[in-house]
């Protein structure tokens, strides 16, 4: 009987010691980024790659807030128009992508794999920047 109890205890301890490090091996706890808290499945994830998540840019008082946003590769950026007037978000160099018109109270989102400068073609003095970093590559360098 005693030998059987020891075996059960040993199995429980082994299971606990296996699952615990796996859950935290991304190096981030809920305090670091609760939205990206997950169990990594591959080597890249183990090196620190986050789960793609959504970053918000508010359009308020005819400004992009924040004016520059740093995101991880593959993350989505959502622009929320809090102004009374229509805005748009357009890639600045070659107009490679555009939201077209975002009405007052509306929003628009896009996933990013590369950094971009952008502006509002309706109010051309409104400018913003998306800086994309590949977190896995950055950590390995």
């Amino acid at each position: 009987m005693r030998g059987g109890q020891w075996l059960v205890c040993l199995l429980v301890m082994l299971l606990c010691s296996c699952s615990s490090p796996e859950k935290h091996s991304s190096g981030e706890g809920p305090a670091a980024d609760s939205a990206a808290y997950y169990i990594p499945k591959d080597a890249a994830s183990a090196a620190g790659k986050k789960n793609p998540h959504v970053d918000t840019v508010k359009i308020t008082g005819l400004k992009f807030l924040p004016e520059q946003i740093d995101v991880n590769k593959g993350d989505t950026v959502i622009w929320i128009n809090n102004d009374l007037v229509m805005h748009c978000v357009t890639e600045a160099r070659n107009m490679n992508w555009t939201s077209y018109q975002i009405p007052a109270g509306g929003s628009w989102k896009k996933a990013f794999s590369q950094s971009s400068d952008y502006y509002c073609t309706i109010h051309q003095v409104m400018k913003g920047k998306i800086v994309v970093t590949d977190s896995a590559t950055a950590l390995l360098q």
């Binding site: 008082g61 009374l84 007037v85 229509m86 073609t121 051309q124 003095v125």
Partner: protein, 178 residues
């Protein structure tokens, strides 16, 4: 000579607006009067934009005029929605009347310009007009507005006007270069 006349027409617009504001400072404006001034100021700029849309061939000027027409219409829509909610009827007053009559004079001036001189005359007027309207909203309309919703709407309009001024100055600079 042309440069001097354009300067004087822009300065005259600012002067006329400031006269209108000065007259507003003695007789205090009520909320229905403030609503009327706000709607009129927006309507006047939409009318200037319509003239630009028909006379200009410059892409930057046309884009600016399109923005003016769309933004000032959005502000009017918001103001109308607010006065409807508050059950207030905008009331004509000396300032709104002066804005209308000055607007008519400026429209005639813009219509009389040749295609060659129009862009500069329009943009110079936009710079002067927005400077004057910003001063009016900031120093007269917001401080005198009694209703909190009306005051909040005017405060939300201020950054729109500031961005329009910045945009107009950008186009003005570009026209000077070309």
């Amino acid at each position: 000579m042309k440069k001097i006349s354009v300067f004087f027409s822009a300065a005259a617009v600012a002067g006329m607006m400031l006269t209108a504001i000065a007259t507003a400072q003695s007789p205090k404006l009520t909320d229905p009067e403030i609503a009327s001034v706000a709607v009129t100021a927006n309507q006047v700029d939409i009318e200037y934009a319509k003239i630009a849309a028909s006379k200009s061939k410059n892409a930057e000027v046309l884009n600016f005029a399109k923005t003016m027409a769309a933004d000032h219409q959005s502000v009017i829509d918001q103001a109308v929605a607010l006065v409807t909610k508050l059950k207030v009827t905008p009331k004509d007053n000396d300032v709104s009347k002066k804005l209308k009559s000055d607007g008519e004079t400026t429209k005639k001036m813009l219509q009389s310009k040749s295609a060659k001189d129009f862009d500069k005359a329009y943009i110079d007027n936009e710079v002067a007009y927005h400077k004057a309207v910003i001063a009016a909203v900031k120093d007269v309309l917001i401080p005198q507005a009694q209703n909190a919703d009306l005051k909040a709407l005017l405060e939300k309009v201020l950054p729109i006007l500031n961005t329009h001024l910045e945009h107009a100055e950008m186009v003005q600079k570009s026209l000077t270069k070309s």
